[in-house]
């Protein structure tokens, strides 16, 4: 009952005219920042942080949280309409969102993404409201061993699924991981893989550089070649019947939405993991549990619902360790944390006791931001569909320009733009030979989490590898991950031994 009392107090704060206006503004700005390839919630929050000094701290964090939410919704938009994931969290959304758009079902994919995001966000906020402090202590129990086990699981769900060309998939994962290790070896403090001693490699290879290169340039060149300059996307005609049919189809995916929301939330609250592994695992689970897995990757609504429900659930979840422990669960929450410090708030275990008004105002505004985000997102869908109607020679040119600007913006270094071009051309050539590239993009996100966790664990255990199996949480996760990793090998063996098994 105490919670309901707090929450209604919170709503009074969230619905103050200034705060309400800031929620609206934050959602709209976030939506566009998220929809822009290259800019995600991290950039949006970091860049607009100083602009929040005009308002009191509670309003400021409400604005930034709304922006965060809007950007999470927006990330799906560029994944679906342009095929370029705006942020790592939206990579999994391209798997089915892009094929849907190419089939002429962009409206279905966009609505599915919006509603799934809303669903995931809502479940997550409810869990947040009810169980924040106890969940925080679970998050604290996650040490390096558990984080590594979790990363292993994220990869396993992915490897176990993509079975087209096994050596090429493994190659793609490994090259992504190698790229992710460029820069600095944090354990020894030594520079690592600084190719040709070019100073720009010192900051490592940013995920966005690879993603924009592959999707914004490589994939675009591939599309131009395959389409022979003709329009590839069939035009979308919206009418009431179509909308109703879309919604009916969407309703059938409710199970996926529920499971993905829970998976997303729990992965999200773990420090360091963030929303990307959550979205990836949900996609994997959805594909594994469905009756017709062969449809996934070719334009299945469930394949959009799963990652979108999960990444929104995870982004709310990531705020939990930030508020209750002062540990950011994702890069964006790290910046929010910085903002709170600037405004004189001390995130951590005492926050819920010392700053009740702030905490509950924020939670209530998350409910409001989520609601506004879905409404605003859906009302902008015609605009995004109109963009798709542009002649391809114009759309492609604009995408190249956005890739250039988007590749530059995060690090503000031309080195990254050149690297992006290189990845684009390389990605285009590999794409023609059926090398899957999404695994590389995901590997570059997960690699920098997995490697230090592995080495820190081993350092702590004096090089004893059994530590991953003997701890209560990491043990079962590691075992499941290894089974999933070996699954394709078993399938292969089975195929060899029983040639007619398929």
């Amino acid at each position: 009952m105490e919670i309901i009392q707090h929450l209604s107090d919170g709503f009074f704060i969230a619905f103050e005219p200034l705060n309400l206006a800031l929620i609206l503004l934050g959602v709209v700005v976030g939506l566009f920042i998220g929809a822009m390839p290259g800019l995600g919630s991290v950039n949006g929050v970091a860049i607009l942080l100083p602009m929040t000094f005009l308002v009191p701290p509670t309003s400021a964090i409400i604005f930034l949280a709304a922006l965060y939410y809007g950007a999470m919704y927006g990330g799906a938009i560029s994944s679906i309409t342009l095929g370029i994931p705006g942020a790592s969290t939206a990579v999994a959304t391209t798997f089915d969102g892009r094929p849907l758009a190419l089939k002429g079902d962009a409206d279905k994919a966009l609505i599915a993404a919006a509603l799934a995001s809303f669903f995931g966000g809502t479940i997550s906020i409810v869990l947040f409201t009810g169980f924040a402090p106890p969940l925080a202590s679970i998050a604290l129990d996650f040490g390096d061993q558990e984080i590594f086990a979790l990363m292993l699981l994220a990869f396993a769900t992915f490897v176990g699924l993509s079975g087209d060309d096994i050596p090429k998939t493994i190659f793609s994962i490994c090259i992504g991981m190698v790229f992710s290790s460029v820069g600095l070896d944090i354990m020894s403090g030594e520079p690592r893989l600084i190719f040709f001693d070019i100073i720009g490699f010192m900051h490592g290879i940013n995920f966005l550089v690879l993603a924009i290169g592959i999707y914004g340039i490589g994939e675009m060149m591939w599309t131009i070649e395959v389409s022979r300059g003709e329009m590839l996307m069939s035009k979308v005609v919206i009418n009431l019947e179509r909308i109703i049919n879309n919604l009916k189809e969407l309703l059938q995916t409710w199970k996926i939405a529920v499971s993905s929301s829970f998976v997303g939330f729990f992965v999200g609250i773990l420090p360091a993991a963030g929303a990307t592994p959550g979205a990836l695992m949900s996609y994997g689970i959805a594909k594994m549990t469905t009756k017709n897995p062969e449809k996934y990757g070719k334009g299945e609504v469930g394949g959009v619902v799963a990652p979108e429900a999960a990444n929104n659930a995870a982004s709310t979840g990531a705020m939990l360790p930030m508020l209750t422990l002062g540990i950011p669960g994702s890069p964006t929450t790290a910046i929010l944390l910085g903002g709170m410090v600037i405004w004189g708030l001390v995130p951590g275990p005492r926050l819920f006791v010392d700053e009740t008004a702030f905490v509950w105002g924020l939670i209530a505004s998350l409910y409001a931001a989520n609601l506004f985000a879905v409404i605003i997102n859906i009302s902008f869908i015609p605009l995004f569909l109109w963009m798709l109607k542009m002649p391809f020679t114009i759309l492609a040119a604009i995408i190249f320009v956005l890739s250039l600007v988007g590749g530059f913006a995060p690090t503000q270094d031309m080195h990254d733009v050149w690297l992006m071009l290189l990845f684009g051309v390389g990605g285009y050539l590999l794409r023609k030979l059926d090398y899957p590239l999404a695994p590389a993009v995901l590997a570059i996100v997960l690699g920098p989490i997995a490697e230090p966790a592995l080495r820190q664990s081993l350092l702590i255990s004096n090089g004893d590898i059994t530590v991953f199996f003997t701890r209560p949480i990491s043990g079962p996760i590691t075992v499941i991950a290894i089974i999933l990793l070996l699954l394709p090998l078993f399938k292969l063996l089975k195929k060899k031994l029983v040639p007619n098994a398929t």
Binding site: D144, G189, G348
Partner: protein, 327 residues
């Protein structure tokens, strides 16, 4: 339609020309001030201590409109700050390039001589603070004094885990101090940021840390972690029960500088502008409040005094790194 476009273009052109005119004639204002947005390089990643401070300074400047053009923060954490140092050294427009630094300002050029960076050529702007370090343990360990800490760490030998930020940087230097002074063999495990380090301790994945107060503040207030002693000349107001190592007979004082530095080759007028700007920031209520809250020490330094301070610190770090075998 076509006529309208032509008209628009012409009007736009006319407006542009008149503005160029204004800007040329408006030049004669006293003193130098930035003509374009100032690159405000941060020598560390997003969300870290240096980043938070840089964004606070930027916020204070914007709030009071002290700079006619905004400071635009750019994180360049690559190679422990090597990338940022080289960027500054090669700055095309030194008058519009400044940087927030920490102690990697000394250690990185020493450890990577190939960069060819000499920090004595950089333009001193302002020392805004010195961050302090304390020795922390978890409250469940039952350790309340440094003596008890030594006893426990000795018993565990190399299984005593000291978590810290980065490798061969501040936290590891301090760990080495402690190992040398008290004959311990604690194992140092590096993490990416102070926040992660603090979490390792709170989650009992590490036995001790040497965090800054700002990194442990939340857990300290909740009673989860306990400061044992401070690497400062005198006790900190916030932690009156934690003695200094000096009181305990070990002369170990170590700070993390929080300074602003200009690119080499910055004109003296521009340097004067930034020095004045950051002095205002230093004196602002916001900054003073922040200093107090985060137990920061170190007064405002600028000009040649700051340069002398850098040279002195660089030598101190050189000898420390040598002792560790890192040079």
């Amino acid at each position: 339609m076509r006529i309208l476009t032509t008209k628009l273009i012409l009007t736009g052109f006319a407006i542009a020309v008149s503005f160029i005119g204004i800007s040329i004639f408006g030049e004669a204002v006293a003193g130098w001030s930035p003509k374009k947005p100032v690159q405000f390089i941060i020598m560390a990643g997003k969300g870290g201590g240096a980043d938070k401070m840089a964004r606070l300074m930027q916020t204070v400047i914007e709030k009071n409109k002290w700079s006619p053009k905004p400071l635009t923060p750019i994180n360049k954490p690559g190679g422990s700050g090597a990338e940022a140092l080289v960027h500054l050294k090669q700055a095309k427009d030194p008058n519009h390039t400044i940087m927030v630094t920490l102690n990697s300002f000394y250690t990185t050029p020493l450890r990577q001589p190939a960069l060819g960076v000499d920090i004595a050529t950089f333009t001193p702007v302002a020392r805004m603070a010195e961050d302090t370090f304390l020795l922390w343990v978890h409250k469940d360990s039952g350790i309340k004094t440094v003596d008890a800490f030594i006893k426990a760490a000795k018993a565990k030998g190399k299984n005593w885990i000291m978590a810290g930020t980065g490798s061969l940087q501040e936290d590891q230097l301090l760990t080495d101090f402690l190992n040398a002074d008290y004959g311990l063999s604690m194992k140092y495990v590096p993490y990416k940021g102070g926040g992660k380090v603090a979490k390792q301790l709170a989650g009992k994945h590490a036995n001790s840390t040497v965090n800054n107060p700002s990194e442990q503040e939340g857990f300290y207030k909740a009673g989860t972690t306990v400061p044992l002693a401070a690497f400062t000349p005198s006790r900190l107001e916030m932690f009156p029960n934690a003695p200094t190592f000096r009181e305990l007979g070990q002369d170990r004082v170590y700070f993390m500088q929080r300074s602003v530095v200009g690119a080499p080759g910055m004109s003296s007028e521009a340097a004067a502008f930034y020095q004045g700007l950051f002095e205002k920031v230093y004196k602002s209520d916001d900054w003073q409040k922040y200093r107090k809250k985060k137990s920061l020490m170190g007064d405002f330094l600028s000009g040649s005094a700051l340069k002398d301070y850098w040279k002195k610190e660089r030598e101190i770090h050189r000898s420390m790194l040598k002792k560790m075998g890192a040079l």
